[in-house]
């Protein structure tokens, strides 16, 4: 075990990472997608606007993860760790919204005139 690794040997192990050209193209793609998202804001898509905006956001986030964060070059353990976090995020949102959507009683609200608040 050496106190300090040989510079040449370590440099060989260092990942090359994406080329500057790939990084630049990704930035352009991100900005174009952002522009598209902004344009859709004024397109009156009705119920689809939520889906469209989130779909574009997911594509953008994936680009950031894959190219900028080099997610796919990471070891499987790293990918598994982060993917677990994301799936638990999804679990929380899905089961929480499922509750709100499937309640047969109206959403909680104070009856009119009873909204006196207690200040302790």
């Amino acid at each position: 075990m050496s106190a300090r690794a040989e510079p040449e040997a370590a440099a060989q192990h260092a990942e090359e990472g994406p080329s500057p050209r790939a990084l630049t193209y990704t930035l352009i793609a991100l900005l174009v997608l952002a522009g598209l998202s902004l344009a859709l804001r004024f397109a009156h898509l009705g119920g689809f606007s939520f889906l469209a905006a989130l779909l574009i956001a997911v594509i953008k986030a994936s680009l950031v993860a894959v190219v900028f964060m080099e997610f796919l070059h990471e070891k499987p353990t790293v990918r598994f760790a982060f993917a677990t976090g994301l799936s638990l995020f999804a679990l929380l949102v899905v089961l929480l919204v499922a509750d709100v959507l499937t309640r047969t009683i109206p959403p909680l609200s104070n009856p009119p005139g009873t909204a006196q608040r207690y200040h302790g």
Binding site: L95, A98, T102, L108, H119
Partner: protein, 561 residues
């Protein structure tokens, strides 16, 4: 064939008198306070969490004593409300969640995988001080009067309670970061620091448990952090995030809280299961009935445990659809827990079972965990939960799991690894006596509470109907017994720290990797670079002997031969 030998006195080990250990390498306060040695950090945690246990235990005894009579006995109603809240907070966040992972996990995990230390030793020390900062905040909150919301901080009351909610949640918020850092550290250590020969399926099962619990710690705790932050903001600035008048929905708070706090139950019980998975093969002198069943069910509990939080909210107004989904998911966890229980029991079959204190605690654990687990399945059934919700039945159920499960496993771990940590033996007879009283006291405290709850006694009530008094008195006497047994344990263990006979490297004749090194271990865990050729549960061949400097292994006579 089952042999029973009570009061094993191990063969005193030929000890080189000047051997350097992690304990005698330095004696200054600074060498403890600024140590990055995972073993010393483990000891620091052990001492601090034991202090928290004492504090929470005192609260518990005062609460039980208060319930000797249906009216006021020793404390008034407001003090009672704050005390049961602080009892829950101290026991859950200061003791139970950190107890086994931080103390025994820190001490043992690197040793069990043959590493010199955890992956990030300085971060490890930082996590201890963050924990201490959290403890200090909670104690400041106590000094300011404590919170009276119950440990769940349910909105909207928690936003307007006149008690010291903000410092309390802030303390827990800090404690959460300590938990997350420890979890990250353990995950990375398990992935990157395993020695030669320690493949994934040759790790001791305690390491699997630590790995599973670290996943839950890193991924569930941040949700608690954010929900408590919101509670603090709501209380301090009155932003009304759960105020129906301003578009809020208190049930959503319960979703967030239980998304953390149900997995937190597995943060408490998985390490306990890990301890039991070590104790049973060692004292049965036999490999586990199925290594993979225990390892996979650990991960199963860790992941499925995330999908069950809604069973705490069946009567809180969640939709029938969600309640049904959560009911089914909750049943799944019971399957994984049952796999473990059956594997432990099968492990003893045809083994040569030695009755020592850790084994006494295993028997207690087995009975209490099965009892608590089965009542858990019952309360996860919606129709039954409507009757039992917020009664002493639920209180008894989770104390059977948390105290009956985690505390007995913690005591088992304390006795099982006492020789490794201190290099000395504890008095076996005292251990067995105290273990038996702990079980008796515990059962006497909480079994009557099942009957009380089923009879309609609601939890957190200060006054109660006199018909409940006889069972309350039995429960209180049981609590005193439990407290006395815990004090007895503390006393003889403290004495044994200094006067116990030397234990030798492997007093239990175990095959698990932490026993290969001398007790107490040297600063870097092993005298030489360890290479493990045997499985950690291979009892078909004699113990190859402790590792000596230079790498050769010297056989020692096995006490259980």
């Amino acid at each position: 064939m089952t042999t029973i030998d009570v009061g094993v006195v191990p063969v005193p080990h030929r000890e080189a008198p000047s051997r350097e250990t992690y304990l005698n390498v330095a004696y200054t306060v600074k060498s403890w306070a600024l140590t990055t040695d995972h073993k010393r950090i483990g000891i620091l945690y052990l001492v601090t969490t034991t202090f928290a246990l004492l504090l929470g235990g005192v609260f518990a005894l005062v609460l039980r004593t208060e319930h000797l009579t249906p009216d006021q006995t020793i404390i008034d109603a407001y003090t009672y409300n704050r005390m049961f809240t602080m009892h829950g907070i101290v026991m859950v966040w200061l003791f139970m969640i950190p107890s086994i992972p931080t103390a025994f996990g820190n001490f043992l995990l690197p040793m069990m995988i043959g590493a010199k230390d955890v992956a990030f030793p300085r971060l490890n020390l930082a996590s201890y001080y963050i924990y201490v900062a959290g403890v200090v905040w909670v104690i400041v909150a106590l000094w300011m009067g404590g919170a009276d919301t119950g440990w769940t901080f349910y909105a909207p009351y928690s936003a307007h309670s006149p008690s010291a909610v903000v410092p309390t949640v802030f303390g827990i918020f800090i404690l959460g970061w300590s938990t997350i850092i420890t979890g990250v550290n353990f995950i990375v250590t398990t992935h990157t620091m395993r020695a030669k020969g320690v493949t994934w399926f040759r790790m001791p099962l305690f390491v699997w448990a630590m790995y599973g619990v670290s996943i839950i710690q890193t991924l569930a705790t941040p949700v608690l952090a954010i929900s408590l932050l919101i509670v603090g903001i709501d209380h301090w600035f009155d932003w009304g995030l759960f105020d129906p008048h301003r578009g809020g929905d208190p049930v959503l708070y319960q979703h967030l809280f239980w998304f953390y706090s149900h997995p937190a139950v597995y943060i408490m019980i998985l390490p306990a299961m890990g301890v039991i998975s070590e104790v049973v093969p060692t004292f049965s002198h036999k490999n586990p009935a199925s290594y993979k069943a225990i390892a996979y069910s650990t991960l199963g509990i860790a992941f499925v445990g995330f999908g069950t939080w809604g069973h705490h909210m069946f009567v809180a107004g969640i939709s029938l659809f969600d309640a049904a989904a959560f009911g089914v998911l909750s049943m799944l966890v019971a399957i994984f827990s049952a796999i473990k229980v059956f594997t432990w029991v099968l492990t003893m079959r045809r083994g040569s079972v030695a009755v020592a204190t850790p084994m006494i605690y295993f028997f207690a654990f087995l009975f209490l965990f099965v009892f608590g687990g089965m009542t858990g399945v019952a309360v996860a059934t919606q129709s039954l939960d409507v009757h039992w919700h917020d009664t002493y039945f639920v209180v008894a159920h989770f104390h059977f799991i948390m105290v009956g499960g985690t505390l007995t496993a913690w005591l088992a771990a304390l006795h099982y690894w006492f020789p490794k940590i201190t290099g000395r033996m504890y008095p076996e007879r005292w251990g067995i006596v105290a273990g038996t009283i702990v079980f008796a006291g515990f059962f006497m405290t909480f079994f009557p509470q099942f009957l009380l709850g089923n009879g309609g006694m609601a939890r957190r009530y200060y006054y109660y109907d006199p018909v409940y008094q006889p069972l309350h008195v039995v429960s209180t006497v049981g609590a005193w017994l439990l407290g006395a047994a815990m004090l007895l344990t503390l006393c003889y263990l403290l004495v044994a720290c200094f006067t116990g006979p030397p234990a030798g490297a492997n007093p239990w004749d175990s095959r698990s990797y932490e026993w290969y090194t001398p007790s107490p271990p040297p600063k870097h865990n092993f005298p030489a670079e360890p290479v493990f050729e045997l499985d950690p549960y291979d009892y078909t061949v004699p113990f190859p002997g402790e590792l000596k400097a230079g790498g050769e292994q010297a056989p020692q006579e096995a006490p259980h031969a």
